[in-house]
């Protein structure tokens, strides 16, 4: 019995495996939001985008039989929601935070509406790569069954870090986020830059949603996302708008979120709901520690309404 021999080691192992599994949606949403916020807009609607992405990925995967088409569909849906957000925000005197709240409602509602017939059927799921083939311990093998999307997400983080620093597009996005006037003076349309940044952000958030329905937990239902989208938005703030820090923060969050189920698997069930709230408590705690009323956060894009 491997279970007995591992004893309490199952908990850190499950947390480690969970960190990888659960962190993927956090990772995609936070990287997407990172791009959007760097351009000077905040999109709180990514919670809705996440749920829409999960639903459309599941639907397309079920209809076409190809989970990767589902991922693509989720990304496109996310980009459309991003375009909607950016489009409304580019009207004068419209508050981007409020539009985010509206799209959170609309995305969730639309996903539940269209996803009603998808609760029953089973769609093709995303494959995982078995990195634990060398081990006999089933828990270790389970923890090391890693999804390709996670690896893609891990690759995007340094890529984005590099792109923000060195590419023309990265510079343009940062200029729009730091000083819209400067970007305008350079002859660029700030609205257009933000439209693209929000669409790319939505694309990534949609893919994060596809992971929820196509890999873990791996089915479509209305309780699929419980605030991961909004947690990821908060995560960007304490990752200081740095894609690499987003990666580490997402992993920490995944681990925190996996704590409840891991403890449950070794028989500690009391406080299950409180452990499930760990990511939210962690987010709040870190925001309390890192924010200050005296100064704006280091690394904060100056145009961002949330830090002004």
């Amino acid at each position: 019995m491997a279970d007995a021999s591992l004893g309490l080691w199952t908990v850190p192992l499950a947390v480690f495996g969970g960190a990888i599994r659960v962190s993927t949606p956090f990772l995609f949403v936070s990287l997407g939001e990172c791009i959007t916020e760097r351009s000077g807009r905040i999109n709180l609607g990514l919670e809705g985008t996440l749920v829409m992405g999960a639903m459309s990925a599941y639907g397309i995967s079920y209809l076409s039989g190809s989970p990767w088409l589902g991922v693509l569909a989720a990304g496109i849906t996310g980009a459309l929601f991003g375009a909607l957000h950016a489009g409304i925000c580019s009207l004068p005197r419209v508050n981007d935070i409020a539009v985010g709240i509206a799209l959170m409602l609309l995305g969730t509602g639309l996903a539940f509406f269209l996803g009603k017939p998808l609760i029953e059927p089973t769609a093709a799921r995303l494959p995982a790569i078995d990195f634990g083939w060398w081990s006999d311990v089933p828990q270790l093998r389970a923890a090391l069954r890693i999804n390709v999307l996670f690896l893609i997400g891990v690759a995007i983080a340094p890529l984005l870090y590099w792109a923000f620093r060195t590419t023309r597009w990265g510079l343009l996005i940062r200029t729009a986020g730091e000083s819209a006037d400067a970007a305008r003076a350079m002859g660029h349309s700030v609205l257009l830059i933000r439209l693209r940044a929000t669409m790319v952000g939505g694309f990534l958030a949609g893919i994060g949603g596809s992971f929820l329905s196509l890999f873990y937990p791996g089915s479509w239902n209305e309780g699929l996302s419980s605030g991961q989208g909004i947690t990821a938005v908060a995560l960007v703030i304490f990752a200081r708008w740095d894609p690499m820090l987003c990666l580490w923060a997402s992993l920490a969050f995944g681990g925190a979120a996996a704590l409840g189920p891991a403890l449950q698997s070794v028989g500690i069930t009391s406080g299950y709901h409180l452990f499930n709230a760990a990511p939210y408590i962690l987010t709040l705690a870190i925001m309390i520690i890192t924010c200050s009323p005296k100064r704006t956060l280091t690394g904060a894009p100056a145009e961002l309404s949330i830090t002004r």
Partner: protein, 369 residues
């Protein structure tokens, strides 16, 4: 409906100063009715189109929506019952909005208020119903009030964004509720749906005589009117609006912004907490996960549609209460999923926000014609 909204908004609206001509005097007030009204009609049209794509007749949709919301005395009662918590949760967003804060955690304060009220009732079993009821009101308001004060305090003393913190607190409140309801406070007799013990039939607040509408509606109306007086007719409300308009100016004239923020957040949260108490004492009779029915989130929409005006919240809450009341009929008669109400709310929200761009831009309302 419309006239009611008209009166309330006109009372609140700031008419452009001294110049004859109807449009010039009332142009701004008319705008406050015309633009949200147009947004609403636009949203209904888009939703109708969406339903048409789904293969249903939009005219049927509109008919059943009207019928299910305001068509019969029964549906009116259903609508008003749903409007009660919406008025209160909308105040939870509208009051901090006077200070320029965007609080979207009314759902959390509602849940904490419900838990506090239930705890008070369970602790006072055996006391006279009126004592229990008053204790529930106080406990619910304090519980919800402190919950939102937490967001306000974090914003004031730690610079934590109140929108995000209040939303995170919703999920934390839900976890606390689930934890208590399935653990320490669980009634062993509640098997399928973990719940607390019942507060007792004698302690329920009952209905307004001659109707099936519970007293919660009166609580909501009183709270909205009190909030209106507080914001527009007291020094405190004036100070809050000054601070909301220009925080630096408020500090220069010596207003204690921190105290304002905490007080307003407490009042806002206590409204949502009261909504939680009402849901327990007038509908559920106990606390369980049913309470997380989304009143807190619809309340945000109500507040924005009412342009954060406490009096305008009343008709808007009745309107949105009607939309959610008609949801059941849409499900039965048209076979639409229960999420259709959510979709419509989302579309309305998007239209209302986009319509913000129109203020001051409608030519004929400027009195130029």
């Amino acid at each position: 409906m419309t006239t009611e909204a008209a009166e309330s908004v006109e009372a609140a609206g700031v008419a452009p100063a001294a110049d004859p001509g109807f449009l010039q005097r009332y142009g701004a007030s008319i705008e406050y009715i015309l633009i949200p009204g147009a947004a609403l009609v636009g949203a209904l049209a888009v939703f109708g189109g969406f339903i048409a794509l789904y293969g249903k007749n939009p005219l049927d949709l509109y008919f059943y929506m009207y019928y299910g919301a305001f068509g019969t005395w029964f549906s009116w009662q259903n609508t008003l019952t749903r409007a009660a918590p919406l008025i209160l949760t909308a105040l939870c967003t509208a009051l901090p909005a006077q200070l320029g804060m965007v609080i979207i955690g009314g759902e959390g304060a509602l849940l904490i208020g419900a838990l506090s009220a239930t705890s008070a009732a369970l602790a006072l079993q055996g006391a006279a119903p009126i004592v229990v009821q008053i204790a529930m009101v106080i406990a619910g308001m304090i519980g919800g009030g402190l919950w939102i004060t937490l967001s306000g305090g974090l914003r004031q003393y730690r610079g934590v964004n109140e929108t995000i913190s209040s939303l995170l607190l919703v999920y934390i409140a839900l976890a606390i509720l689930n934890h208590l309801v399935e653990g320490p406070m669980r009634d062993p007799a509640s098997l399928n749906k973990p719940s607390t013990r019942e507060i007792g039939a004698a302690n329920m607040i009952g209905s307004i005589p001659g109707t099936d509408v519970h007293w919660g509606l009166v609580f909501g109306l009183v709270a909205a009117i009190a909030a209106y007086i507080l914001i527009y007719h007291t020094t405190f409300g004036f100070a809050a609006r000054v601070a909301g308009g220009n925080i630096r100016a408020a500090k220069i004239v010596g207003l204690s912004v921190g105290k304002l923020i905490l007080t307003v957040c407490f009042l806002a949260g206590s409204c949502a907490g009261l909504a939680g108490m009402i849901e327990v004492a007038a509908v559920q009779g106990r606390t369980n996960a049913n309470l997380a029915a989304g009143y807190g989130f619809t309340g945000i929409l109500v507040a924005f549609l009412a342009r954060q005006n406490p009096l305008a919240i009343i008709p808007v809450a009745i309107l949105l209460g009607g939309i959610s009341a008609s949801g059941g009929l849409l499900q039965r008669r048209l076979g639409l999923p229960d999420a259709s109400v959510l979709v419509l709310q989302g579309i309305i929200f998007v239209f209302v926000l986009a319509s913000d761009a129109l203020y001051g831009r409608i030519g004929f309302l400027k009195g130029k014609s």
